[in-house]
């Protein structure tokens, strides 16, 4: 057999793929989504808290946020997942039994929060101080001004970076297999790997890879589309003022 067809059969053996596909879609995909979506939600909430703590005037909020971020960004994801998933397992056992998912999701969330916190913080800090002053002048408290005016603007500015992090999360969810999964808990990667191991053919793993791409590539494009829309606002209509204002479309930069 010539090397080319060997390569082809190693990666594109349709029978192997067809065999793995049903389980990939009914077990692997839902499990990957459960892991990634839960960790994305929890990680984003924690990240937002970290971001706000990170810009707080109180050092008792700022420093812990700083230390947390340094630690969880600095550790390899696999190490964090094992440390939390295995280290806290006895505790988890008492609360929800032997299911590794809660701790897996917790570990993924804690890692994601460190990165998302930095992303949100940079977005929030990019909002002009004048916006805070404008909100405070209306009588809003600092907390309300942040919640209603500053944070929403800051997060919009970093949407693409945030989605990058969610993509990383989808990929990192594969690491939960370290914690030992029963058959019904296996996510995309583990199912692909299992089929590849039993058949000695990598096609099922390649199929898992394609499933990851089917999740991550559209996500990038959707967020770019949303980002463009937010940047440009809704379809622009030039100001047509009845009385005095006959200025051309006022761009952001013109005011400076």
């Amino acid at each position: 057999m010539d090397p080319l067809s060997t390569l082809w059969e190693t990666f594109f053996d349709w029978d192997s793929m067809r065999e793995a596909l049903p389980e990939m879609l009914t077990v692997g995909l839902p499990n990957t989504l459960i892991l990634a979506v839960s960790a994305a939600l929890l990680g984003s909430v924690l990240g937002l808290l970290l971001a706000v703590a990170g810009i707080s005037r109180s050092r008792w909020l700022r420093w812990p946020a700083r230390v947390y971020t340094d630690v969880f960004r600095g550790l390899p994801a696999a190490a964090t997942i094992l440390l939390i998933g295995v280290g806290l397992a006895p505790l988890g056992m008492q609360v929800w039994g032997p299911d590794p998912y809660p701790l897996g999701i917790l570990a993924l969330s804690l890692i994601a929060a460190a990165y998302i916190g930095e992303i949100f913080r940079s977005g929030i800090q990019s909002v002009e101080a004048a916006q805070l002053e404008g909100a405070r002048a209306l009588g809003f408290s600092w907390a309300d001004a942040m919640r209603l005016v500053i944070v929403p603007q800051g997060i919009r500015r970093v949407l693409p970076a945030w989605v990058n992090q969610l993509i990383a999360l989808i990929k990192d969810s594969s690491l939960v297999y370290f914690l030992g999964l029963v058959a019904s808990q296996r996510e995309l990667f583990r199912i692909g790997q299992d089929y590849a191991a039993t058949t000695g053919n990598e096609s099922a793993l390649l199929l898992a890879g394609l499933c990851y791409l089917a999740l991550t590539v559209p996500l990038t494009h959707v967020v770019n589309w949303i980002d463009r829309r937010l940047r440009n606002g809704r379809p622009a209509t030039a100001p047509t003022d009845e009385d005095d204002d006959t200025a051309p479309y006022a761009m952001e930069g013109d005011r400076r």
Partner: protein, 247 residues
């Protein structure tokens, strides 16, 4: 521009001091604005005019001195509650770009005044109507010209029915042809009896609209009086030099 006259109160600034480190920005400022009157504050840049405005609504806390509304000190008041009574308009408008014009105006009505959506919308639309922008309620700030944005900012402040209005170089960031519309709205408001403190470089406006013109230099009010006295019979040499440069 109705209803303003019924709610406005007198404003007294008494011996306000403020230093940023060694830099003494305000060195004992006094300013009295009777109910319904307009005071224009003029002076070179860096003289403390904008800082003075911010100590009135306590965006900046003064080191010393007092501010009285309707004869009563506001020093012990909650600053957030005070700022609902004292409206402020900024040089750069400070509209919220992620919200429609209408939502810019209704935000404080709904969140602070706890009005329902319909009531807040009606009030905001009425206020936008008064500044000639009823048709722009659903636009985003970035879709408006600078002059229109500043009028939205004025409507946003007025919607809370403030008792005093502060204007911080409200027309300085505008193209010359847009200045008139904003000054017109401010003059109407003054005529309707709003108590106003206007920091401005528009000497024509100060001359026509102000009841009092105060000249600030290096953190103090050097000279204050009716516009004709300040502009025609300036006593202080620094004021005369300033007027020579700007008129």
């Amino acid at each position: 521009m109705t209803a303003a006259s019924t709610t406005s109160v007198s404003l007294d600034v008494r011996d306000v001091h403020l230093a940023f480190g060694p830099n003494r920005v305000l060195r004992g400022v006094d300013l009295s604005v009777p109910r319904g009157a307009t005071a224009c504050v003029i002076g070179p840049s860096g003289s403390g005019k904008s800082t003075l405005l911010r100590t009135i609504n306590r965006l900046i806390e003064p080191d010393r001195g007092d501010v009285l509304l309707d004869g009563r000190s506001v020093r012990g008041d909650d600053p957030d509650a005070l700022r609902q009574r004292v409206g402020m308009v900024f040089q750069q408008f400070n509209l919220f770009p992620h919200m429609s014009v209408l939502r810019n105006v209704t935000l404080a009505l709904r969140r602070l005044r706890k009005l329902g959506e319909d009531e807040a919308d009606a009030l905001a639309r009425a206020q936008l109507e008064l500044v000639g922008l009823a048709g722009k309620a659903n636009s985003r700030p970035a879709q408006l010209s600078g002059g229109q944005q500043q009028r939205v900012a004025i409507a946003r402040a007025l919607a809370l029915r403030p008792e005093v209005m502060l204007f911080d170089e409200a027309t300085s960031a505008l193209d010359p042809e847009l200045v008139k519309g904003v000054l017109g709205v401010m003059a109407d408001l003054s005529a309707a009896g709003m108590t106003m403190v206007v920091v401005t470089h528009e000497m024509g406006f100060a001359r026509q609209v102000a009841d009092t013109v105060a000249f600030m230099d290096r953190g103090v009010v050097l000279e204050a009086g009716p516009p004709e006295a300040v502009f025609e019979r300036a006593e202080h040499p620094r004021l005369r030099r300033f007027l020579d440069q700007v008129l």
